[in-house]
Symmetry: C2
């Protein structure tokens, strides 16, 4: 029974399920069960079934889930059936790596715009994209109606870049800069902080 009020934490697990399903599909597997999926992810089978039940019925009693079908459905739920155009701001080492990262392909995103404020970088090409002048960030994002950006600038620039993006109508920010960003209601920010994960793990060492 689909509901309007799906817990945040449930939505957050859907990309994990999607990743595991893609892995199985790549190995040629066609069917899986909540039990198998749960074992792979260290999650109970009941939780997987419960999570999915927030959105509908995707399996078959006695059989399990058809992987390709479940992938399609979860992609639809997450709105990544079609590809989103994403802008990347800050083309330093990290930005380069992000721009060349092949993990976006077929997962709902493609990098459509690159920005930097360094005259030495503006106008250069990276893959089949030209690095644009960050001075025109706001106008360009608004024109192209970009809703999602990734920020890979130095820490000191990240907040003002974020502010500009938000003014241009951006609603989701993935922040690679080592700094906490603040954003108004209605704009989602995720911080990709490798050190936070490392620190978490060292607690248990």
């Amino acid at each position: 029974m689909p509901s309007a009020e799906v817990p945040d934490i449930v939505v957050g697990r859907l990309p994990i399920y999607l990743r595991a399903l893609a892995f199985m599909a790549a190995a040629g597997q066609e069917i899986t069960s909540s039990h198998e999926l749960g074992q792979k992810l260290g999650i109970s089978s009941a939780q997987i079934r419960k999570d999915l039940s927030h959105f509908g019925e995707f399996g078959k009693q006695g059989t399990g889930y058809r992987i390709s079908h479940l992938q399609e459905q979860i992609k639809r739920i997450l709105k990544v059936s079609q590809e989103w155009e994403v802008a990347l701001i800050g083309i330093g080492d990290l930005g380069h790596a992000v721009a060349r990262y092949n993990g976006f392909k077929n997962r709902g995103f493609h990098i459509a715009l690159l920005f930097d404020n360094d005259p030495a970088k503006i106008g250069t090409r990276l893959g089949d994209l030209e690095v644009l002048d960050a001075a025109r960030l706001k106008e360009t994002l608004a024109e192209r109606q970009i809703k999602i950006v990734m920020i890979a600038t130095p820490a000191g620039d990240a907040q003002s870049v974020a502010d500009t993006c938000i003014e241009a109508g951006v609603k989701a920010i993935l922040n690679y800069a080592p700094i906490s960003l603040t954003a108004p209601e209605g704009v989602r920010v995720q911080h990709l902080d490798p050190v936070a994960y490392l620190q978490w793990m060292t607690y248990y060492l």
Copy 2:
């Protein structure tokens, strides 16, 4: 009252607190309160006090928390008061960016070893480190008693690299490769998957 059984989710918030405290400290601030910290992070003040109470008493009634002291205490709890030596395996675009990332400094980690299996890369230098031959990964990690590695290899190599690291005694793996890794009990794996975050955010668009 410190307890032996601190919930995982509480430990996971400590690095976030630490990051916010570092930000305040960098701005010259000396004192904060659970209320202020909570507002910055979108967390209730009660939760912050409750979280900290698992480990001890770090504040002063009527005043709040001395930032430098709280930082020290949380670092001690997370075992990042001293720096851990970390190995980085896979020196492609992403590995380069990780190696040059300045966010590790002063947060409990430093990259001590670089590995790749490409003869063209082995022996070259990156900063003040030489890229070592991944063929000797296991021996070298064991000799140096490395407990933490970051994997930035292509997806196809990541699991076997992880297995080798685990055989060498590694207990914590930060995985940048776009693939789910499996590891035995006692080894912690964190997957740094930017696309999972993007997919989570698009749900709300």
